[in-house]
Symmetry: C2
Subunit: 207 residues, 2 copies
């Protein structure tokens, strides 16, 4: 691409560094910004740089936060004795959006995956073990993706927590809402049968 302006070229190149955005999309975004008010673009630019400079990670749960302790950890209405262990910040946002969980989180910052060169040391597993030892929560809920890496991580942390009296659970695997039995894979279907729940619990859960 040949540009008539280096200012334009720089802006397009910066946008094109973002994941999933090529040069043509970057140009479309930049030409959109050129049409906006100077002040609006200033807001855009400041929101991005302020975010990167000032953002912190909660020292307790490693979630993204504006302060030392995130909104969730510092909220007295949430059950501090129930810790949900997730892979990343996106998962926290997904679970928060359900508005069904009233405990606190622990963000691992990834998942054990030897093939990708990610071992337990790169994650916040030691911090989780320390936290459980000192806080003595009632329950730890693993909400990791249902695959080999997720299961390995659950198994590894489970072993590390041995000896600490705490209830350890994992979110239910099963047929998703709107899913159809005949198209479900065998493993999911088998798990959903072996982990069947009493109908009264089910009715309580959906009502």
């Amino acid at each position: 691409m040949i540009f008539s302006s280096t200012l334009l070229e720089n802006a397009v190149n910066e946008f094109a560094k973002l994941p999933g955005i090529g040069k043509k999309t970057a140009l479309r975004l930049v030409l959109h910004l050129i049409k906006q008010d100077v002040q609006e673009v200033q807001f855009f630019s400041e929101a991005i740089s302020a975010m990167r400079e000032q953002i912190k990670f909660c020292k307790r749960c490693h979630n993204i936060s504006d302060k030392e302790l995130c909104n969730i950890c510092s909220n007295p209405m949430r059950k501090q004795e129930m810790i949900c262990v997730v892979e990343n910040i996106r998962d926290v946002i997904a679970i928060e959006s359900t508005q069904q969980f009233n405990g606190v989180y622990h963000v691992l910052g990834g998942i054990i995956s030897p093939l990708d060169g990610i071992g337990p040391d790169q994650l916040t597993i030691d911090a989780l073990v320390d936290r459980v030892s000192s806080e003595r929560p009632q329950e730890i809920i693993f909400a990791l993706n249902p695959n080999i890496q997720g299961d390995t991580t659950v198994y590894y942390i489970g072993r590390k927590l041995k000896g600490i009296p705490v209830k350890i659970t994992t979110i239910a695997r099963g047929i998703s809402f709107g899913g159809e039995l005949e198209y479900a894979d065998e493993m999911t279907l088998a798990k959903s049968i072996s982990n069947r729940i009493p109908v009264e619990n089910y009715i309580q859960a959906i009502s």
Copy 2:
């Protein structure tokens, strides 16, 4: 979406204002930026705000420019007496990328389209007529999209230029390279037959 940080929320909302970017994509882009160096994100933010604040439009051809006159208009190697009329800046970049055109441009800033409420007054047509009257170029090449609006614009400007001795041409319509005759629409095929060119010109053009 529920965020644990207002800094994060602001950044995601700003990204989500861009065309074709929803909340989930915006979050993915912002989480990518969080992982980058503070300085890199600073470059990104500054490139955008500098672009919007300092960018100018060339006073002669209305192309995007860093100075009063754009690189193309101020380049003595380009044929100043050959003006290519295009709809927008993206078209200038597309034609420049072919490296086949050595004249200068005139960016209309849109196309006459009564259905979208765009009349000749909102475009740089008067500036083009003034420019042709004073500069007296040899040729004006219309490179507009081949549709009703493009043809209307060509017709309108053609009438405005009546009386000024200048050669007016339009880019060729025909079967595109790699296209197949049997799948071409009738109008394109008909035009490509009626506007057939001598084989010696064709060989010259592709060699």
